[in-house]
């Protein structure tokens, strides 16, 4: 018989509601799984055993009282840059090693409102900056399919936890691919919603115009259930969309006959691995077999997205991270006598190399004499990239691309050269630049490692993306593959 930690959210939820299992049993099973494999995976920065067990007991009481929701009693992991009241939130940075939030992020409040269970906080690249979790100030995470390889990043701890069964699902964040790329590399489902669909209140800011919270799950139904729970207007986030609530599971199971899917040639880059290309092309064939109409499209501005992103994201990061001054919270260097010296030493010691690199890059791009050449130019290119997407979405309903041009790479393989690491996100960053929704679904294997297929849609097309991904998943079963660990 399968262990409880192996259940999907929808399976576990049904059994909880029928009182066949208790949340306490389920949570204990997940915690036992963590104990079993965490030494090899290192997906967590904090594990909250006591509060998880207390939440599980409350969830069981709720269900007994007939007040259960779809996520009641479900053990989840939260990425460690999402504020959790009373649970330290480090952003995988020395700067926030001892920081304990005094409030919950809106998404955490929503999950706790449904009496979900928080198992702990997910490892990540420091402040979300990276594609492998090797930029965590504490330790890298390991890919459950091959522990010598990275799980991707920045939500690498989240993807590794979901793939290895250390949580039924996780909440991550995506600024340039940080949900979708690790989901692809670990063989799980990851969704970056439309900018503004999920509240960013309590998400520690990296690049505010690009950041978005979203779920990582084992299958598409779970993804829809998680989105149901976290989406919705929040007056505490000025960029939150005043959208009416909707049930993203409602259209799952509907067919995709006649759906127009565009395949942008620019996303099949010369540098991509052949096995990845083959897996994604086979995925497209499957979608065609399900009745979708496949047509080639062109997004000529794709090749400018990387440069555009690496001006805009570091610029916003340099402004957002100015708050770490060693006065209000976080690491504070006490050696220096004067105010500026203390601030400079605090930031020099508290931030890791990639964070310093991006703050420096952003400060450069925003500095006097360079602003127009870099930041303003990038914002104008952002307009052109957005118009490119608008144009193709007049012809097609969604786009199908690879999520990452490569499968999971060995730890240490790309740490020496920042530009090589940045190139990993070439298929995911344009989506954040344009504020669109996109998801990664498992579509096979190359060299024994999972490959992800990305679906990109126009603004607020999450329901259509999920319906397409569900139809694909039901036809292939890739989502049922599990690492041997």
């Amino acid at each position: 018989m399968a262990e409880l930690w192996q259940l999907s959210i929808h399976e576990a939820s049904q059994r909880l509601q029928r009182r066949e299992i208790s949340s306490l049993e389920l949570t204990r099973s997940s915690l036992a799984r963590i104990q079993q494999v965490e030494g090899q995976i290192q997906a967590y920065l904090t594990i909250t055993v006591e509060s998880a067990l207390a939440q599980a007991r409350e969830a069981d009481a709720c269900i007994a009282a007939g007040e259960g929701h779809p996520l009641t009693g479900i053990p989840l992991q939260i990425k460690d840059l999402i504020c959790t009241k009373g649970i330290r939130t480090t952003c995988a940075s020395r700067m926030l090693e001892g920081y304990t939030p005094v409030y919950n992020a809106t998404v955490v409040e929503k999950l706790l409102g449904q009496h979900a269970v928080v198992l702990g906080k997910g490892n990540m690249d420091e402040f979300g900056m990276g594609s492998s979790t090797e930029n965590s100030a504490f330790h890298p995470s390991h890919n459950p399919w091959d522990t010598g390889r990275v799980p991707g990043g920045s939500s690498g701890g989240s993807a590794a936890a979901v793939a290895s069964g250390e949580a039924l699902a996780a909440v991550g964040s995506d600024t340039g691919g940080s949900i979708r790329q690790p989901a692809a590399l670990c063989g799980v489902v990851g969704l970056k919603p439309t900018y503004g669909l999920v509240s960013r209140y309590g998400l520690v800011a990296f690049a505010s115009s690009l950041d978005q919270i979203g779920p990582l799950t084992r299958d598409v139904t779970d993804c829809a259930l998680m989105l149901n729970a976290i989406a919705g207007h929040d007056p505490r986030d000025a960029t939150s969309l005043p959208q009416p609530r909707q049930d993203y599971t409602a259209t799952l199971g509907q067919d995709i006959r006649g759906l127009r899917l565009g395949v942008p040639g620019e996303y099949f880059t010369p540098g991509m691995q052949e096995g990845v290309r083959q897996a994604v092309l086979a995925g497209i064939k499957t979608l065609e077999g399900l009745g979708a109409v496949i047509q080639p499209v062109s997004l000529p501005t794709t090749k400018y997205a990387l440069a555009c992103y690496y001006i805009i994201a570091p610029s916003e990061c340099s402004a957002n991270l100015a708050r770490y001054d060693g006065v209000k919270y976080g690491y504070s260097d006490q050696a220096a006598e004067d105010m500026w010296g203390a601030m400079e030493q605090t930031r020099g010691h508290g931030f890791g190399p990639e964070v310093k690199r991006r703050i420096m890059l952003g400060t450069y791009a925003l500095s006097s004499g360079y602003y127009d050449a870099y930041y303003r130019k990038a914002q104008q290119v952002r307009t052109l990239i957005r118009q490119d997407f608008d144009r193709v979405f007049a012809e097609v309903d969604a786009l199908v691309t690879p999520t990452s041009p490569v499968v999971a790479f060995p730890l240490g393989d790309k740490t020496a050269d920042p530009v090589q690491m940045y190139l990993i996100d070439v298929c995911t960053l344009p989506v954040n630049i344009a504020g669109l929704p996109a998801m990664s679904v498992p579509c096979g294997f190359a060299e024994g490692l999972p490959v992800g297929m990305q679906l990109i849609g126009p603004r607020l097309s999450e329901a259509a993306l999920l319906r397409t991904a569900y139809a694909y998943q039901q036809a292939t079963g890739w989502h049922e593959m599990r690492p041997a660990i």
């Binding site: 001892g98 304990t100 005094v102 409030y103 900018y195 503004g196 505010s208 115009s209 690009l210 007056p235 505490r236 960029t239 939150s240 005043p242 501005t301 090749k303 400018y304 440069a307 555009c308 690496y310 001054d325 006065v327 209000k328 919270y329 976080g330 504070s332 006490q334 220096a336 006598e337 004067d338 105010m339 601030m343 400079e344 030493q345 930031r347 020099g348 010691h349 310093k356 690199r357 703050i359 420096m360 890059l361 450069y364 500095s367 870099y374 130019k377 990038a378 914002q379 104008q380 290119v381 952002r382 307009t383 052109l384 957005r386 920042p418 530009v419 940045y422 344009a434 504020g435 603004r459």
Partner: protein, 99 residues
């Protein structure tokens, strides 16, 4: 190609980050390498193209301000609970005004 050491120092001073000599040398190289990647944007004619500041620009319904109604906020103790240095109800800072 690398940025001039004086340029790296200038940016570090603007960003208020103390860097070791080793870090300055590495960043001088790396920033120049990354900036070289940005030259590709010069291929695009952006005369008369309006800048997009954030995805909210794409939707007129974004950036809605909430009503200004009073509600309970964090307590002083909450706000000070993570302070590296405090004195009573205040954050303790080093002298801001120099003699």
């Amino acid at each position: 190609m690398a940025l001039e050491p004086s340029e790296v120092q200038h940016i570090a001073a603007l960003a208020r980050i103390a860097l070791t000599g080793e870090e300055q040398a590495a960043l001088g190289q790396q920033l120049a390498q990354i900036l070289a990647q940005f030259e590709i944007l010069g291929e695009l004619d952006t005369t008369d193209v309006l800048p997009t500041a954030h995805a909210g620009d794409l939707a007129p319904d974004l950036s809605v301000l909430r009503d200004d109604t009073p509600s309970p906020g964090l307590t002083t103790e909450d706000v000070l609970s993570n302070a590296p240095r405090r004195e009573g109800q205040f954050f303790r800072v080093r002298a801001v005004l120099e003699e």
